[in-house]
Amino acid sequence: MTNRFVCRIADVPQNGLKEVEAEGGLKLLVASAGGEFFGYQAQCPHQDVALCEALYDGSVLTCHMHLWQWDIRTGAPIGLAEAPLQSYPLAVEGDSLVLGPQPSALDVGELFRGLDSATLAKLAGLALSESHPAGAVLYSPGDPAEDIFVLDAGRVEFTIGRGEGAAPDGFMLKKGETFGWAALLEGYPQRIAGARCLEDSTLMRINGRAAIGVLEGDASAGFTAMRRLSGLIARYLALRGSG
């Protein structure tokens, strides 16, 4: 299988931006930075603003709408930005850019991105890829909390309470978003919320106990992952507010 064509190198201004449609219809932002090329989602993750209209100085990308910023080399958020850019790694073939090998949901996941590659490979070895149709229930309150999930594609909604009293409690829609955290915590053997697919969805399922085992074998990665997990929990607590 040949790599999908993105654009000609000559079409991307030096230290500039270009929006392109890659072979197959995927819209991408291509950025040139000091002779290297980076591919990202074409639209700002905040609102549907075209990032090819962003401010760009060759290293930091700034969406003109609300000044969300990212490091062009990694897509990591800076300053006000609340989400990373989804990356589509590019490769050079002759005078063209093509789509290189694409990262898995685990690679870009909220907890595990950027960890040591040997540790990531061990986690990937534990991960089971699953597809579920819209409406499928992943878990219900009271179910044993054994696995964590990393969203690859689709949309998953959460509810608290049961039956008639069930109330919406948020939803996830981005590749790499992670839920079912209780499986990584001690003393939370049961689900407190329900999770259901709103759309046909693909997920990576990882046994929590086995993941902890891998992270215990790489203390640095374990620390990073647990720090991020605390951050996620704190964020959800803060956003819950008093209302």
Binding site: D48, L55, L80, E82, P168, F171, L173, Y236, L239, R240
Partner: protein, 347 residues
């Protein structure tokens, strides 16, 4: 009518009165739903209909270009529930911070409308109920029987305000603006909603202050300067205000700006930028408190601010091209961090 909002992080419920826009009902219920202009242009308050029926009060709103109607997407500032409703908002939403002025619908009367220059009018709204707002915030105004509502920044600053001052630029084809410049008369009844907007100033800020305004964007800057001067902010911080207009004859509030500067002459500088003419010789003599320069407002600001970008907080307002050029200056030349640049996109 019961409105349910499914946000990324949680669900919310509140009631809306018949005819009330979903956004306004949610904000008045203390929920910080996403919005920026609150008047149908920016697209920030996009939501997707999950269940129930609603109607769109302004199907031709310019902000509709940001939504996909075939996928059931609407602007919450324009949609009105026809019964119980569930909407999905693909953003993180939290309750409004306590302490900010309460956001509410109210009523008032038009007072003292007067032309400042040929296409800009100043007017007051006398409120039925006093209102607390932050310097830099705006209100949405509507007149019964007049199509459309418009957002205007407050010019004055006071706590428990009974009277709000605004400036409006004449917008051909703008329902409320046409009414204001035409049929409006002293004492006309108005509906108000607010205060809104997050480009606010308060003296707890410890930075030097930069205000860059084009045209009627000066309104919110007057409020910011009024608060800063009134509370002695320039005793310990510097401030620069840049006010861009085409010609000197388009400029207004020069007496008011002179009076503000006279109260902080050592650390506050105010420059009027004229884009379409050389600075007339009489300007400096007539307004000795003010500086004048030729160029677009971002060009003039760039000349004056060179070497002064450290530890500044910038506020920007005006027509979109002026705002974009100012943002470019502050980010790319000034290397300001994004959290030190505040503006509300009205269009």
């Amino acid at each position: 009518m019961r409105i349910r909002i499914n946000a990324r992080n949680r669900g919310f419920q509140f009631d809306a009165a018949p005819g009330e826009a979903v956004l306004y009902a949610g904000l008045a219920a203390g929920i910080d739903l996403p919005y920026e202009c609150a008047t149908g242009t920016c697209g920030t308050c996009k939501a997707k209909l999950v269940d129930g029926r609603l109607h769109d009060a302004w199907p031709a709103a310019p902000g509709r270009k940001y939504v996909k109607p075939e996928q059931g997407e609407y602007l919450m500032c324009q949609c009105v529930a026809d019964g119980d409703l569930t909407l999905e908002v693909a953003k993180f939403v939290k309750p409004l911070e306590p302490g900010m002025g309460r956001v509410a619908a109210g009523a008032g009367r038009l007072r003292s409308p007067a032309l400042l220059v040929h296409d800009v009018m100043a007017f007051d709204v006398e409120l039925d109920q006093p209102c607390d707002f932050e310097a830099g915030q705006f209100m949405v105004l509507a007149a019964p029987g007049v199509e459309g509502h418009r957002a205007y920044s407050m010019v004055n600053y006071e706590r428990g305000a009974r009277r709000l001052r605004f400036v409006a630029k004449r917008k051909p084809g703008g329902g409320f603006s046409e009414w204001l410049f035409g049929a409006a008369s002293e004492g006309a009844a108005l509906r108000v909603f607010g205060p809104l907007g997050k480009a606010t100033f308060s003296p707890e800020l410890a930075n030097d202050l930069v205000c860059i305004a084009g045209g009627s964007g000066i309104a919110g800057m007057m409020s910011i300067l009024a608060r800063a001067v009134g509370e002695g902010y320039f005793d310990s911080h510097r401030g620069w205000l840049f006010f861009g207009v085409r010609k000197l004859s388009d400029a207004f509030y020069l007496e008011e700006l002179s009076a503000l500067r006279a109260r902080a002459p050592d650390r506050l500088s105010i420059t009027i930028a004229l884009s379409d003419e050389a600075v007339p010789a009489e300007a400096a003599g007539r307004w000795p408190q003010l500086a004048f320069d030729q160029g677009f407002v971002h060009e003039v600001a760039g000349r004056v601010l060179k070497g002064h970008y450290k530890d500044i907080r910038a506020y920007v307002a005006g027509p979109p091209p002026a705002v974009d050029a100012a943002l470019r200056l502050l980010l790319l030349e000034g290397k300001l961090t994004a959290d030190n640049i505040r503006y509300d996109k009205f269009s």
